[in-house]
Subunit: 363 residues, 2 copies
């Protein structure tokens, strides 16, 4: 693909806060954005002129959308394969259909990761009740039974502790094709957020340490508490994954930090998010180039921007009613507040986030 | 005015790059923007859903616009008085009509500034050929003859050196009501960019040092090279001006740094820009809160954000063909690039800007 000129249009599938922040980043670079989303009340619709409101299965609408833009990307990994194929028929799609196919299925994803020599938790496929028993034999307990597709924020998961009946467990996840993963007694959760350009250049931000509440990311701290060797290994895992996928754009690789038998820190990859990621929001205030701009640069065929960090960063998600604390945050002179333009603060809904960046030596 | 809730709409008169960056800042805070501009190709139209394309004299369009928003502001100081009055009849206008009246006329502006005990260059009114001779007698030469209204970027100005015929000079500026200002042999040009909230709180960013080429701002360096006493005096001038105007929003006060008879640095106010200002663009990358967000916070009745600086900042305007250097800037890992979405790189046209922020001790 040629390098897009300023004034070109980025097509974005999905109109949530990630699509919104991608559109804002495109605007910073003098690029236009066209948001495609079936939801009339999409937050991203407020920040761009060109929108399409249509289902992801509407082939005529997808064709019109793709023809009207210069490149297409997405804010969510569950873009239907047929949607991706339709779009890619007309315009370059980044990250491409193979990335989607690899990351939409937990079993395919983990198999792919291991094939690169990148470690994950032990896992085994579960297709029915009898293969679940076999998987438990191979993986052991405690373990986590997860649907192969469409899980997020802890949905589609069942913890298999000692004593839980396998019939019940398989029923709880809807008797779907699944994967059983060994429970990882992790010390902490981290993510490597990084970008790969069309020319194969790779650039990672410093590693993020993530804390979840109710399976939803609550805070990200950067840099993560992590030894140099483990940090280097983590970035190397992300780089190998990106290279093997011939990836273009920003990706996040979520990992667990564990101690190996010798007491050394080591990392296990949990999953790949083929998109900008909540654990990279701190880059909007804490890095020279933010993840949204970097993604736009990559898919536009532009050089990647610098990823230097400006200090210690702490990002806090405003989830549901948290947004009622807005006034407290507004009075904090170190806080940079981002609200997503959502009117309805439902429980668990990401309404915005706040980042504080402090001088490196004040931590 | 009550504090606006998230989701409220900011009305902005003017659709250039300042209106565009104000709209982007509103989006960061979960607020909507409605851009009013007569120019079909306004850069700000790309980044918001609500736009009105109509002349500033269209009273019906202005009424509809004002009724559809919660507060109105502007990106340019030459908003016609009648336009401001129309809008203010329906919704709060910040900064208000008195600010516009004071700053639209150089004579009124400088008289107002001096009335606060804030120093400017010597000046005298010029209404006709004979008052020009009298003004030259009072102010001396060299001096600058400027139209009272609608001058910007050096337009509407004539330098009166020894020997220039007064008839010719008065003819060059169109025989309009004018002001003669003593030429100031300044050491440097600086600006104080600051904000005042609805509650009267005042917050300035660190002082900017500005370098012009062909009367157009080329670079801004922050912090300015300036002694502590002069810096304190400069901020005090801006604060007194803002307080006397009961100002709400961001303003820039442009000043000259000169040596007094005793060799001490002192500042003379040149002009007040009642809006976000090119010399404040560095705040987008170099401060906790940028000038665009701060302006939106102020006019929305929200608390002002922190103005701490993240390092030494250098902002370079991309003017006309400068934008052809884009690729060089894109490869600079310390550069943050902002393009305004303008398609036609005419000479003198501001196409974008680049900011580099470096650690304080590396300067």
């Amino acid at each position: 693909m040629r390098r897009l000129p300023p004034g070109a249009t980025i097509g974005i599938l999905g109109g949530g806060q990630l699509g919104r922040m991608l559109a804002l980043a495109a605007a910073k670079l003098g690029l236009k954005a066209h948001i495609y989303c079936p939801d009339l009340k999409s937050p991203a619709f407020d920040v761009t002129r060109d929108i399409t409101i249509a289902p992801y299965e509407d082939e005529a609408a997808l064709a019109l959308f793709a023809e009207s833009v210069d490149v297409v990307t997405y804010e969510f990994e569950n873009v239907p394969a047929r949607t991706a194929a339709m779009v890619a028929h007309h315009r370059p799609l980044f990250p491409d259909a193979r990335v989607l196919a690899t990351t939409q299925d937990r079993l395919t994803e983990k198999t792919f990761i291991n094939s690169l020599g990148v470690p994950t938790a032990r896992f085994a496929p579960v297709d029915d009740r009898s293969s679940l028993a076999k998987a438990v034999g191979a993986v052991g307990r405690p373990a986590v039974l997860k649907t192969r597709r469409f899980g997020y924020d802890g949905k589609g998961q069942v913890m298999l502790r000692e004593g839980l009946d396998l019939d019940a467990a398989f029923g709880l996840i809807g008797r779907q094709s699944s994967i059983l993963e060994a429970f990882v007694p992790f010390e902490r959760e981290i993510s490597v957020v990084a970008a790969r350009g069309i020319d194969g250049t790779f650039a990672a931000w410093d590693i993020a340490e993530n804390r979840h509440e109710n399976h939803i990311l609550k805070t990200t701290l950067v840099p993560a508490t992590l030894g140099a060797a483990a940090a280097e290994a983590a970035v190397s895992c992300a780089e190998r994954i990106a290279a093997a996928l011939d990836y273009v754009g920003v990706l996040a690789v979520e990992m667990f930090v564990v101690r190996d038998a010798g007491g050394r820190e080591t990392v296990l990859v949990n999953e790949i998010a083929p998109r900008v990621h909540n654990s990279g929001h701190w880059t909007m205030d804490g890095a020279v180039t933010c993840q949204f701009e970097q993604h736009i640069r990559a898919i536009a065929g532009w050089p990647l921007g610098g990823t230097s960090r400006r200090g210690r960063a702490e990002m806090t998600n405003l989830i549901g009613d948290d947004v009622n604390d807005l006034n407290t945050w507004l009075k904090d002179p170190s806080a940079s507040i981002h609200l997503y333009g959502k009117s309805d603060a439902r429980p668990g809904r990401k309404m915005g986030h706040v980042t504080r960046v402090s001088a490196e030596d004040s931590a």
